[in-house]
Assembly symmetry: C2
Homo-oligomer: 646 residues x 2
């Protein structure tokens, strides 16, 4: 089952070394080698390098700004929005810093944790804002150290709004953003990419437009890598500003901040905060329609599109920064109309990558977490090395404890009432559980007319790839083979295949058929008899909640079940059935019965006891058909098993 | 081009762990993991474990004894014999110790170096004999340390023949083999497997048969792992001896020493040395035919076969040890008639493995040395780690210097006169060189009627696999594309395929088409124009002797060109086109023009100048067609190049 998150996969550029590159020496010690196949240059570059590469290639890009939400539920929704908007291919997102909201804390709504989630769990290049006024050096350094530890690599250095009217400069304190830029460079050298704010009309508190330009130049010369501007209403405003910057020697990228007007009130509030003047021609349009949200949004989209076109057509602008206000529709529409929303179906690997620097080399994962990639990232976050090419090479460090699997970004997006409608207000036996699994597979409504759009082991509807197996899956789930993960066999499809493809173009991808399910001990007994006949063609691992483990795998080696062959590279084998990590997955998979399903019901209730019975007595089974060029035999194995039982 | 050496590939046995193997803990830290896919259990077991496994499986085996030759030429021939007889699948070979021949030295004829070559270059499990009488502890320890350093793991501990008639025991000296056994165990703990000699009729110098049995028991209890017996003429002799050994508590394997009579004089000499009595019935047959070598050998084979059958049929004997006298025919015939000569076409990997313990995990090599595996092993002998799964992971240590490529086991087996007949007494131009390459490919005689059976880059006739490409290779060599290495593309053939298969059964093997050749700068110029059209489908590396290097490979990553998919395993990718090691190979490939070919001719002679011209001006080119499922496009590339030139 392939995760749906999609990433831009940039074609690797070919270089050519010609002439005298070797002096004929025997030694190859000095040569630089990659330790892992670079499937996606994006994963290895820092933000400023990505910007430069995009500028060189003439490839336009965009970025998205979000603010931390107020409640945990809103945070769960924001993370889903990251996944959805991440699919459009932003170069980065940024998360604002709310000094009043304990922004550096471990709260699920803090700026730090939202940025952490974006980079680690959603795989997005992320810029964390940070303000400095009214803060001590130690506080700031602490925040920066924490950001670094979490894998954040980019900081937007801001002054922030001074508290109270009577603000005065502090000697040796952080008075301006430039102080923060200097501090970051002093304490962290070149580790972070630093962004600073530019004001196309000059900062409202600056003595003059020119003085503000000089402040900006100071920030850049102190070590900032690029500039994002405050919003503005006319493209000329930005283009003039950019020329003025260049005239005084500012050469770094300057990214215009775009604010698609989405409603009357949000516009008024923003204008008040930023002390900007709304041009009369805009006011004239908006005032008459101020109570018609849809009309204002349409107008805002129109306005943003035409301004962005002017900017891009100027030839001076390569990227656009969007103030989303945490909303999806208007920004997405602007991007789609501009043609830079790039929902590239190509994936660098068959699973959603994480953007933490230490995971850059990660190119193999066990198949078990295919539908729970965030859980996998969470449970392996303490690892120092990531299995790099071959799973067995790693020293197989422990998986993280399960106690935190209620972590906010692993929470079901559906509330309890919704889940009860899908999974049954009242279960009458194991068969009613079979029914839930079957409805999830078929997409048909259950007997109360509700569709089952998620399961404890999968928070999303069925993956496209799984649809290929729908008919067989339906048949077996009806009879108590409760499938939670599967993939068809693939014998060399192009890497650009829209359903099963991944990696750079020009390659071929392969899969061994895989099937994972819960089932009763009665079925397991028959299954084991049937499996004897298939010998080593089918590898199996069968385990119950107590850890009783039955397998025909000759040793503790992983079995590669997804691999790809690409031009000029070693073979990539990103998905394995690993017998060791299966035992860690088993704990999670069994726990989900109780934590996500049984606990929906009253203690001692029959429904809860049915789920508890399955948890205590069923086995978790995985099957691999090693003979990938032949027709998948796993359905035959299941058929034979049912036949034996009859 | 696949090396012809063949190895037994034992099927891996499947184990089954059932019940309570995991306590449900999250941690998998304690689990034991293989760091590399075990393709061949043989490579990971020590000799005594292999013996035990064969005994348990009921699989009969044999071993072969050789003595070090007197001359370097004879050593070259012996090494070829190791390769040929190694193909029959001996469990081990052993090399005798000649105290008079400086046996521990670095001379190419020393026991130490012959054993070193067998284990490292021929990949044979090897037992080195060592005698101890008249030697100091320091000498012995030095020999053992050297043996260990060279990767030898097995010692046959012997007393040796005292020098002179008046031999007396030395106090604290090595007087008996048991002293050597104890010394090895004291100084090297369990590192070596130790073999000792048994005398089915009792040692000629022993007080009695019973006293000799007691000495043997002492040797075993001092730490010997198994026993090889002196030759004998009747199976009853051995079977009685074996029962007597067991009766006094000797339980280790006892391997009968078999001596196929091969000639009248060798028999007499051996009998004299070993102080054995030849039974009258044998004398009666031999005396009348003593001048008819063929008749004696036929009789010897007959006798050996029937005795071996009796031994095997007894159920007490699992392996047979052959005194070959460095001859091939008689022993091979006995083994074939017994049905234990096991020329298994299956190969654990596509290249000949080395038996050095530190190379046990080696599972990937650059394709360049495919026809010169011994050179590759030699040039990487100082490496501490072997690329393990992925080439790029290794720190790319330097290749050994070329100064020793005249090393005896890399020498051509053909003398100078032979080479001149094959490669031309007198060259008249580059075309006469094209002609030599073409004749090597076609197998047709050259214009002087001589077949070209070897080339400087390949000491053996064309590999079976290369025959698949014969027609195209002929065509291009005629026109100055001088091929030295190639492989066809393979899109998933069974691992048991007799020509391209390797690895355990039940798998599939794949290849990308590969072509490597020398050619003129004129052809290279046209080739580069043609290659532009193929973009990333064809990767190329083009280099001249000075190291000018032209490539379209995006970085220094290796390209996997041979890989295999097996049940329950990770993907194995044993052959790569590695851009870094290509530059080391280039030095060797260019040097072979001069060292092996140009130097056949007088200095300043036209023939020598032609080869020198090619060496100085031609390019070495390698091409990979990445699109392995399609028809190999490399021939089209070459055709297009010729067309462009016309």
């Amino acid at each position: 089952m392939v995760n749906e998150t999609q990433h831009t996969c940039s074609a690797s550029s070919s270089s050519k070394s010609d002439g005298g590159s070797s002096s004929g020496s025997e030694s190859s010690k000095d040569s630089s080698r990659c330790s892992t196949p670079v499937l996606d240059a994006d994963r290895h570059e820092r933000l400023r390098e990505k910007m430069r590469r995009r500028q060189d290639s003439g490839d336009k890009w965009f970025s998205l700004e979000f603010f931390p939400p107020r409640t945990a539920n809103a945070a769960v929704n924001l993370i889903s929005r990251f996944d959805r908007m991440g699919a459009g291919g932003p170069l980065f997102i940024d998360v604002t810093w709310h000094p009043a909201g304990d922004p550096g804390s471990d709260k699920e709504t803090s700026s730090m944790i939202i940025a952490n989630t974006a980079v680690n769990y959603c795989g997005l290049e992320t810029v964390l804002h940070m303000t400095c006024c009214n803060q001590t050096k130690d506080d700031i350094t602490g925040h920066l150290q924490k950001a670094k530890r979490l894998g954040l690599k980019n900081i937007m250095a801001l002054r922030g709004d001074p508290v109270g009217e009577e603000w005065e400069e502090e000697v040796d304190g952080f008075n301006y953003a430039v102080d923060l830029v200097k501090h970051i460079r002093n304490e962290f050298d070149d580790y972070f990419d630093i962004c600073v704010a530019g004001y196309p009309k000059g900062h409202p508190e600056a003595e003059s437009y020119e003085a503000d330009l000089r402040h900006l130049k100071e920030k850049v010369f102190a070590g900032a890598d690029f500039i994002i501007t405050q919003l503005f209403f006319r493209s000329e405003t930005f283009l003039k500003f950019m020329k003025d910057c260049q005239a005084i020697g500012i050469t770094c990228p300057i990214i215009p901040g775009i604010f698609p007007i989405q409603g009357y009130h949000s516009l008024r509030q923003l204008v008040k905060l930023s002390k900007l003047e709304v041009p009369q021609e805009i006011k004239d349009v908006i005032e008459p329609i101020k109570d018609n949200d849809a009309a204002i949004r349409n107008y805002g989209v129109e306005l943003a599109v035409s301004m962005c076109r002017e900017l891009l057509d100027s030839g001076m602008v390569h990227g656009l920064h969007f103030y989303t206000l945490n909303r999806e529709v208007a920004t997405t529409e602007v991007l789609k109309r501009l043609g830079i929303w790039n929902e590239d179906p190509r994936r660098p690997l068959p699973w959603a990558v994480s953007a933490h620097p230490k995971r850059r080399v990660e190119d193999v994962r066990p198949i078990f977490w295919a539908s729970r990639p965030k859980s996998y990232i969470y449970r392996t976050q303490e690892w120092d090395d990531f299995p790099n090419g071959r799973w067995g090479n790693s020293s197989s460090p422990a998986f993280g404890e399960l106690k935190d699997y209620y972590l906010f970004y692993l929470k079901s997006k559906s509330p309890r009432e919704e889940l009860l409608k899908m999974w049954g207000e009242e279960l009458t036996g194991e068969e009613s559980v079979f029914e839930v699994f079957t409805c999830y597979i078929t997409g048909e409504p259950n007997k109360n007319g509700h569709k089952v759009t998620c399961m404890p082991w999968n928070d999303d509807p069925l993956a496209t790839e799984t649809n290929l197996l729908k008919e067989q899956l339906e048949k077996v789930n009806r009879r108590g083979i409760l499938t939670i993960n599967s993939q068809p066999n693939i014998n060399g499809k192009p890497s650009t295949d829209p359903i099963v493809g991944w990696g750079p173009s020009g390659g071929y991808v392969f899969q061994k058929a895989y099937l994972e399910f819960f089932t009763s001990s009665e079925i397991v007994t028959a299954l084991l008899k049937v499996l004897k006949k298939y010998e080593l063609r089918v590898n199996y691992h069968i385990v119950n909640v107590k850890g009783q483990n039955i397998t025909n795998a000759p040793d503790l080696q992983p079995n590669a079940v997804t691999w790809g062959i690409f031009p000029g590279r070693e073979i990539i084998q990103p998905t394995v059935v690993d017998p060791v990590s299966f035992l860690s997955w088993k704990d999670e998979a069994f726990a989900l019965w109780i934590e996500q399903w049984a606990k929906l019901y009253e203690e001692e209730s029959p429904s809860r006891m049915i789920i508890q019975y399955i948890h205590d007595n069923y086995y978790l089974v995985n099957l691999v058909d090693n003979d990938f060029p032949l027709e998948n035999c796993l359905w035959q194995v299941v058929d034979d098993t049912f036949e034996l039982l009859n």
